[in-house]
């Protein structure tokens, strides 16, 4: 993906206007060489504005980048991490949910089981993936691979990019809640290392169902929240228009969640967001995962499990009343 093809986001409009101006002047440059300095000035302005924009992003801006239609998805990462990765399919019980991608992958020198939610690139893919919202069968497919990893002593790496679990009728009938709960339960008990990366949207229980990891990483512009900002706004503000307020209040950005102590690391993205350079984004993520993984590989299985359970045991803030 090159910059040219990137669809600009709302908050990037000023940048786009500047770019258009520069382009217009450049066309006149042959006839009017005196424009050279103006162009150079504008280019500097452009760079400054860009830096300034990206160092002062609001929660909503991050959300927009995290949801960018050109954002790299799970399959984009897997393909770049290991072009020969081998996909594994199905829950063995009637369904292969394309919204949950699973397989075997060489990550540098390490062999890992990978599991990730997938939004789908083409319209047809998106529809089949329910726009990244897994069915219960998708979570059970993930669970099958978690157990496979445990049996063969393979670490697990999960990628998270989902608005949440699919809220459909069949999903409820097939016990969506149980599918998620059982994954939380079984992930807690694994003795192989689990590393999770939120690459885009980390949406609620549907994200956590593949996110109970020893180390949780977030891509710089990804978000992670208990409910979508729209959902939160429509319940608490009684208006989905208050999405930006909700996004801000819930502290959904990678940096904020790192500061809250819930995650372990923020992975730098290419300037402007991961969609400007898939290869670089995938490489940064790969390096970060390998670094975290290698720290864990010296630990015993029992210690790996205890480490993960302690991590989640400590989550939350509360007080103890005097009386």
């Amino acid at each position: 993906m090159t910059d040219k093809k990137a669809i600009p986001l709302e908050f990037e409009k000023p940048l786009e206007l500047l770019a258009q101006q520069i382009e217009a002047l450049q066309k006149q440059l042959v006839d009017h060489p005196e424009l050279e300095s103006d162009i150079s000035h504008l280019k500097k302005q452009y760079e400054n504005l860009r830096r300034s924009l990206y160092s002062n992003l609001s929660a909503s801006d991050h959300l927009a980048i995290a949801r960018h239609p050109q954002r790299p998805y799970t399959r984009d990462y897997f393909a770049r991490w290991d072009p020969n990765w081998m996909e594994m399919h199905g829950d063995r019980k009637g369904m292969d949910d394309p919204a949950m991608v699973t397989g075997l992958l060489h990550l540098g020198d390490h062999k890992v089981v990978v599991v990730g939610t997938e939004k789908g690139r083409s319209l047809r893919d998106k529809q089949q993936c329910n726009f990244g919202m897994p069915q219960p069968e998708g979570y059970r497919k993930a669970l099958r691979l978690f157990k496979h990893a445990e049996k063969f002593g393979l670490p697990v790496v999960t990628l998270i990019d989902t608005p949440g679990a699919y809220p459909g009728m069949a999903a409820e009938e097939h016990n969506q809640a149980e599918a998620i709960a059982v994954n939380l339960f079984e992930l807690a008990g694994l003795k192989v290392p689990v590393i999770a990366i939120v690459t885009g949207e980390g949406g609620s229980g549907g994200a956590l169902a593949v996110g109970v990891a020893n180390r949780i990483l977030m891509m710089e512009h990804s978000v992670y929240s208990v409910i979508s900002p729209e959902g939160c706004a429509s319940i608490l503000w009684r208006s989905a228009d208050k999405r930006d307020d909700a996004a801000k209040a819930m502290k959904i950005t990678a940096r904020e969640i790192l500061d809250l102590g819930v995650i372990d690391e923020v992975i730098e993205e290419p300037l402007g967001g991961a969609h400007h350079d898939y290869d670089l984004a995938a490489q940064n993520a790969k390096k970060a995962v390998i670094k975290q993984l290698e720290k864990m590989l010296a630990m015993s299985g029992d210690d790996v499990r205890a480490d993960r359970q302690k991590k989640f045991r400590d989550m939350g803030q509360f007080k103890e009343a005097a009386v």
């Binding site: 390490h110 445990e150 049996k151 002593g153 393979l154 679990a165 809220p167 459909g168 009728m169 999903a171 409820e172 016990n175 969506q176 809640a177 149980e178 998620i180 709960a181 059982v182 939380l184 339960f185 079984e186 807690a188 008990g189 003795k191 192989v192 290392p193 229980g205 956590l208 169902a209 996110g211 109970v212 992670y224 929240s225 208990v226 409910i227 939160c232 319940i235 608490l236 209040a249 819930m250 502290k251 959904i252 809250l260 864990m296 590989l297 630990m299 015993s300 299985g301 029992d302 790996v304 359970q309 989640f312 045991r313 989550m315 939350g316 803030q317 509360f318 007080k319 103890e320 009343a321």
Partner: protein
């Protein structure tokens, strides 16, 4: 502290605050209560005697945590644990009002510090650990305190090798605690994993209503799943689903009976029989089987 003491201390606390608080649940407010289902006018006192089940149509009214404990636990045997935990405000959350104010308001309405009460007691003579949620407090939502108390009672039960009973009633996670509230799903499920590996019995009771993050964690992890008649239980709310699939859902969708038909609960038990069934189940899984289970197998070391 038993129930009597608990009520006494709560009364004292209220008097100290010199505020006239309404009683814990709305139906107490009047002499008469109209049944939500059959519209019959019922004597509130009679309704209470009937464990808040409509004598005409068997509608199971929502009840508070203390009432539930009163119904399930042998008189004078309940000892509350971790009663002093109360919510913080880690995000300094403000929507149209601040989380701090909403907390105070919730406690004023419910008379409770938080949406779950945990403790130890006896059920027809059988020792058990209990956690009972109260929808009347902040919609039974799960924040850090609910998660912490559920995790603690689970750990306590693990240590004491006692059966665990959790009665759920919740709208889901508490948004005002953001990502922390989401993480309670993992915290409670993780505690239950260790409990289960110790070979102990967990009975989950689903009462009206149980949704969202509570359903998607400890409420669906019972060795035995029991639902109250008519209780609505699900992951996503009815309206969200209808908006997603653009069609009307059947009337009985997400009811206890619907869940039974779809294999999600072991049984639907009317309130009047719940206590005896719990005692039966505890006895069935306990006596003669008290030997601890071996630790789970150690898997191979991780690859390099």
């Amino acid at each position: 502290m038993d129930l009597k003491e608990w009520f006494a201390s709560r009364k004292k606390q209220r008097e100290a605050e010199e505020v006239k608080l309404p009683l814990a649940t709305d139906e107490y407010c009047a002499l008469w209560t109209q049944c939500f289902q059959c519209r019959e006018l019922l004597y509130t006192s009679q309704l209470r005697q009937n464990q808040h089940v409509c004598p005409k149509c068997q509608y199971h009214f929502r009840i508070g945590a203390m009432q539930r404990i009163e119904q399930l636990v042998d008189h004078g045997t309940f000892h509350e644990l971790d009663a002093k935990l109360e919510s913080a405000d880690p995000l300094k959350f403000v929507d149209t009002d601040s989380y701090v104010k909403r907390q105070a308001e919730a406690s004023r309405k419910s008379g409770l510090r938080e949406a779950v009460i945990t403790g130890e007691g006896e059920i027809v003579g059988e020792k058990a650990c209990l956690g009972v949620m109260d929808f009347g407090h902040f919609g039974g939502s799960m924040g850090s305190v609910v998660g912490e108390k559920v995790a603690r009672i689970t750990e306590y039960a693990t240590e004491k090798r006692l059966p665990l009973i959790l009665v759920s009633s919740s709208g889901g996670a508490r948004m005002q605690e953001g990502i922390f509230s989401l993480m309670q799903l993992a915290k409670t499920s993780s505690a239950l994993k260790s409990f289960s590996d110790a070979g102990l019995l967990y009975i989950s009771i689903l009462s009206e209503p149980t949704y969202g993050g509570v359903t998607a964690s400890f409420a669906m992890l019972g060795d035995i799943q029991i639902a109250e008649p008519g209780a609505r239980i699900g992951f996503a709310g009815r309206r969200v689903i209808e908006q997603t699939i653009r069609q009307k859902l059947p009337a009985d969708f997400q009811t206890a009976e619907y869940l039974l038909k779809h294999g999600q609960v072991d049984m639907v038990v009317e309130r009047g029989k719940l206590k005896e069934k719990l005692a039966y189940l505890i006895r069935f899984h306990a006596s003669g089987n008290a030997k601890p289970q071996a630790a789970p197998p150690r898997p191979k070391a991780a690859t390099r």
